[in-house]
């Protein structure tokens, strides 16, 4: 019985998506238990280069003009034939705009059970999945003989799915892909302009505690040293001190940075709504009872303006030496 773990590689506009590396890392854990190989499935057209950084045992590369851009129909067509023929132990797909478009169809077409939204797998082949916005976790064994699973990020670092050594790449011929009912037309690029804070990894967020427009310079200085971006809670934007594109919260944007430094922000519910996906929240506020401290990982009860100057000095030292 085939004990390999297949990973459907996701890529867009010539770039391999992070989730692909996460899945390869996950596949490696699973493959240890099953004794099989980690096999990347790369579908595309003139896209072989993208397989190079995958830390898989091998990559099956399927080239066809109809696969030049992702479409659900073409991918389902090709993958269903492969999975049906080769019956691997598991197939991992991203719970993304690419993977989620095809996983369910494969489940029905091939009669294979599907486990959605997996975060990680254990050494003994169990999955841990996350639902209800992260409030509920589930555990179970991967169904046999072939399991389909979609993954979300968070359980593995993309670096663990990458390798300097390219994997063995096998071109695989495809039969004609006909009767395609979905056709890619073109991309519409996002508007150029101010920063998109929802994509930023380091955010220095300021609230009423900044007190004057001039003080924002200090926040900008710190942001520069940390290679981050300045954003704000509503009152600052209302004053016209920062554009609305920088507003975080219910009426602004949801952010998911690695670091969210909330300075002079009390933590009203409308603001909290926008930051719950942050990895680490650090809160600075003169009010020790501010609700922001309920969700922050670290906090300090000090005036943000006093702290900013000192933080900038020390950060400069740490960088420049």
């Amino acid at each position: 019985m085939n004990q390999d773990i297949y990973v459907v590689i996701e890529h867009l506009q010539g770039q391999v998506a992070d989730i692909s590396f996460v899945m390869v890392a996950a596949a490696k854990t699973l493959a240890q238990e099953t004794g099989g190989q980690v096999v990347g499935l790369l579908l595309g057209h003139n896209a072989q280069e993208m397989a190079k950084t995958l830390s898989a045992d091998r990559v099956n590369y399927l080239d066809h003009p109809a696969l030049a851009e992702f479409t659900s129909d073409a991918y389902i067509n090709v993958l269903s034939k492969i999975i049906s023929a080769e019956a691997p132990r598991a197939v991992l797909l991203g719970n993304t705009s690419i993977g989620a478009d095809i996983a369910s169809a494969l489940s029905v077409r091939l009669g294979l059970p599907l486990v959605n939204s997996c975060v990680s797998f254990s050494a003994d082949g169990k999955f841990t999945a996350q639902i209800c916005g992260g409030k509920i976790m589930t555990e179970g064994s991967l169904p046999e003989p072939t399991a389909l699973a979609t993954m979300i990020p968070g359980g593995y670092k993309p670096e663990d799915g990458q390798s300097a050594q390219p994997p063995h790449i096998t071109p695989v011929a495809i039969d004609e892909i006909d009767d395609l009912r979905v056709k890619f037309v073109n991309y519409i690029e996002p508007e150029a302009g101010d920063v998109n804070i929802s994509e930023e990894s380091i955010l220095i967020s300021i609230g009423r505690g900044i007190q004057t427009e001039d003080n924002i310079e200090l926040a900008e200085e710190l942001a520069e040293l940390l290679e981050g971006t300045v954003c704000a809670s509503r009152p600052v934007v209302d004053q016209g001190w920062l554009p609305t594109s920088r507003m975080v919260g219910k009426s602004g944007q949801r952010v998911k940075p690695k670091l969210y430094l909330a300075m002079g922000i009390s933590g009203a519910p409308e603001h909290i709504e926008g930051i719950t996906d942050s990895e680490v929240i650090i809160a600075i506020n003169t009010d020790a009872t501010a609700p922001i401290f309920d969700i922050a990982k670290y906090g300090a009860n000090i005036d943000m303006l006093d702290l900013l100057e000192e933080l900038i000095d020390q950060a400069e030292e740490s960088k420049g030496g």
Partner: protein
Amino acid sequence: MKIVVPIKLVPDLVEELTINDSGTALDMTWLRLIINEFDDHAIEQAILLKEKSGGDVIVLAPDGEGVDDMLFTATAKGADQVIKLIGNFEDGVNSHALARAFSDVIKDLQPDIVLTGVQAHDDQDGSVGPLLAEFLGMPYIGYISGVDLENGKALTKKEYPGGLIGEMEIILPAVLGIQAAEQPPRYVAISKVRQASKTSAIDEREVTDLNQSGGPIIDRMFQPEAGEKATMIDGDEEEIAAKLIEIFEELGVL
């Protein structure tokens, strides 16, 4: 143009969720249900399509607490027909079972296009939309934030990360998984919903067999450990700044 919108109710996360005695599923007794937010967008998109290009909008939902109100709200927004699926839904059904149940009813309706929410937060075995598409033998595109209809085809805008949009054409009949309607779901005055409940009807269809195969078997369902309050850093600005620099370095930010 027949636009069919299957929707479902999901656990409301405002309330505390509890796990049942066997430890493998949510305790349904105290669960408050609300319409899946993405399904609400699907209804809105359907009404917008009807306003743009004409047609009939048919909304379907499985029986559950509050479903009548939800369906009358759809009627008040402009749905032409609302259908409630009657079956053994109280203990919760997975997406595969719901998709099968929907496909039996929707087949007979012979829709031109099916709109449904791209996902729901309680989807343990995939989402209803793409499963339904396969049961109906229709093509599917998900993460849709714009739809235009033209001569047997739909031109859609599919959302990718970072604000990138992929324009895709799909041949009808088809199923679309809606991420966001072209405008936020409209408000309908409660007096209008009440009026709808007095002047219009909810059709019913029986669902006899809820086949749940296709989902995972859960050994254990649990809640992650509750978060704690912030670890407070003491000292004057020098000491606090120093500690913060340490944390930044640990995080790989400095």
